[in-house]
Symmetry: C2
Subunit: 393 residues, 2 copies
């Protein structure tokens, strides 16, 4: 099941350095194979906003179920109104006040606006004529029984809930929220123990439910136990992935199951890794905050989104923008540049891919990825910016 053949065989890199790094695309492919959504479940509509439909929803009947008033007014037989006008009022025998949404009373086939009707001492007169069906919504005009209303994979919008309630559908089958265990493997000297809030927010954004564990000491046994404990669909561990003596996260993952790849050709985040912990897919994130963010966005988030039934590609709105300055890159490595949109609509780097720290990511409007095949992008070229704010652009 675990195909390790495309990856350099992981070794203990502590004090030695990485002999090579796995291609980002290969690691993403491994994630796509191993991040399997947990079984879907049913939720009531008032909990369904933003959830992902796991099965299509079809209309249980016609909508509206019968002809009904499309506006407030007076229901009439249209044939009774022939030739009526403000200078030629015509008395109506069958004239029933109706509100929008009410079924049409027997013997009526049109709704006159109240302004076109005159009440006068016990009888009602039409001041205008109506054609059959005027002001009426026909049975099945909105939706035919059996029609597919919403496709599987749809992220439910507020108006979807309104339609479903109106059709008498009280619950829907949605993709489960994968249970994502986030193990802070930092130990007291690292920054990784501070990353819980950031990673939790990212997992929730991508549709997962978080179980935060730690911070744990940088001890192989303690980490392996946390990795292999039951109850998680996906394991993220942050910190202790580098080449220092106490960087024991990769060894602990090997103890808990299989370390499939350690070292990914991406910057920042090149000490990331993937594997299986007691059969559960696992992503090791570096403890340096910017590297953790990059490895989350390009690796872990992909697993979360996929398991939550969402599109596995980056969730940030993409925008084509021209570079104001050159972006330098290294062949063989995917570089993630934090960038800012300038006043004249171009894009400029805030920090090179090799500079650590979240300050650049906080000031940035988004990021640009430079592929492993590229030596960089000249000024004036068009690039895709992945914008951090969902509603931007």
């Amino acid at each position: 099941m675990t195909d390790r053949s495309t990856f350099p065989s992981p070794i203990d890199v502590r004090g030695r350095g990485f002999p090579g790094r796995a291609a980002l695309a290969d690691v993403q492919r491994w994630i796509d194979t191993h991040a399997v959504p947990p079984p879907p479940g049913e939720v009531p509509l008032n909990e369904a906003a933003g959830r992902v439909l796991a099965a299509p929803v079809t209309a249980p009947g016609d909508w509206p179920p019968a002809d009904r008033a499309a506006r407030d007014g007076v229901a009439v037989a249209s044939s009774d109104t022939l030739g009526a006008g403000s200078y030629n009022p015509i008395p109506l025998l069958n004239a029933v006040p109706v509100s929008a949404g009410e079924p049409m009373p027997p013997g009526t086939d049109a709704v006159l606006p109240v302004e076109t009707v005159q009440q006068d001492a016990g009888f009602t007169e039409a001041l205008g004529s109506a054609a059959p069906g005027d002001g009426v919504e026909r049975r099945g005009e909105g939706i035919r029984a059996g029609a597919v209303l919403l496709e599987a994979g749809r992220i439910l919008r507020p108006q979807d809930l309104g339609l479903l309630v109106a059709l008498g559908i009280g619950a829907v089958t949605v993709a489960a929220r994968p249970r994502v265990r986030v193990v802070l493997a930092g130990g007291p000297r690292s920054g990784s123990e501070t990353l819980g809030a950031m990673l939790s927010a990212l997992v929730v954004r991508d549709g997962g439910a978080v179980e935060l564990v730690g911070p744990l000491p940088a001890e192989r046994g303690a980490l392996a136990a946390a990795y292999s404990a039951p109850g998680a669909d996906l394991l993220l561990s942050v910190g202790r992935t580098g080449v220092g003596e106490d960087d024991v996260a990769p060894l602990a993952l090997a103890d808990a199951g299989t370390l499939v790849a350690h070292g990914v050709a991406m910057r920042p985040g090149d000490s990331a890794g993937v594997g299986l912990a007691a059969g559960v897919p696992a992503v090791l994130l570096p403890g340096e905050p910017m590297a953790a963010l990059a490895a989350y966005e390009l690796l872990a988030g992909r697993a979360v989104r996929r398991m939550a039934g969402r599109d596995s590609v980056l969730p940030h709105p993409a925008r084509a923008v021209v570079t104001a300055r050159k972006l330098i890159s290294e062949i063989g490595c995917v570089d993630l540049y934090r960038v800012r949109l300038t006043a004249d609509g171009a894009v400029e780097p805030l920090a090179s891919a090799t500079v650590p720290g979240l300050a650049g990511a906080v000031r940035a409007d988004g990021f640009v990825l430079i592929s492993a095949e590229s030596e960089g992008i000249p000024a004036g070229a068009s690039v895709t910016v992945h914008c951090f704010d969902g509603t931007k652009g």
Copy 2:
């Protein structure tokens, strides 16, 4: 405080029809004046994702607080490595293994990658030279003490939380979530009682907290009591806004405070209204689901967003697209067309502004607004589509 002079004086429209309707822009201006954010409050960082900063956050100190290793490796005095190379190893007296993020040990000013260092029977040799500062992140290089990290009004991103925790900031002052009471005024014959899930999801999307009341019967006294009960920052009432006998929501709002405007020149949603209920701004939404959605998006949502400290304009990503067909409109009325993006990137209407029902809004990719001054938009013209899905486009 309540300037009613720009609006037609509201009358009891039941059985009569609207004598005139308020301009949408005037009603939006009234909302902007009366939707005042409640006082901000402090929340811990693990509850702060997606909240709106009410005050700027400044750096309490330099970051990093001292020179520190920017990579895993061996800290050295750069002057000790002059001329070192793989064919000229130079012994190092002061060579301390460090992990990325650790403070630089005394007497060192550079970090050599582990690959550039050779451990040999008790002594350490450099296999390459380092310049001062190589592999070192300087004190304050990321952030200077006192610098504004995040401006007021910022919607907090996951990486913002990471940066704030790293700087030792454990809580932030954010805009309050306005308490939005949603009164379902439908009564048993209307569809409005089914709109709770849709409206709740919309209010949450825009940053509010929902209190759902009802469905209540269409009784003036019961509605007025629900409108004026304490504990809400904003009141939304849905249903019973038309010209039928039991359309008592406007009268109930007048009883509970002031009915400022009833009838808005927009389609759908033209029976909407605004006013004050015991001093709290109130928006009356029609009970027809599509009209309720339109009036929410253009009126109520504006109040929610404004009170939640957000930008009051529509939150949907906007996109310029060419029309595949003509969009017909009525002068004096803002029309909201539900539209679909076609395979060749144009936009076509799914339902005219006068057709009720949510089915069009569910099939739609977004909507187009046609201004009150316009008779419509010809085929081939560029229009702004407000896309329903945040990440689309």
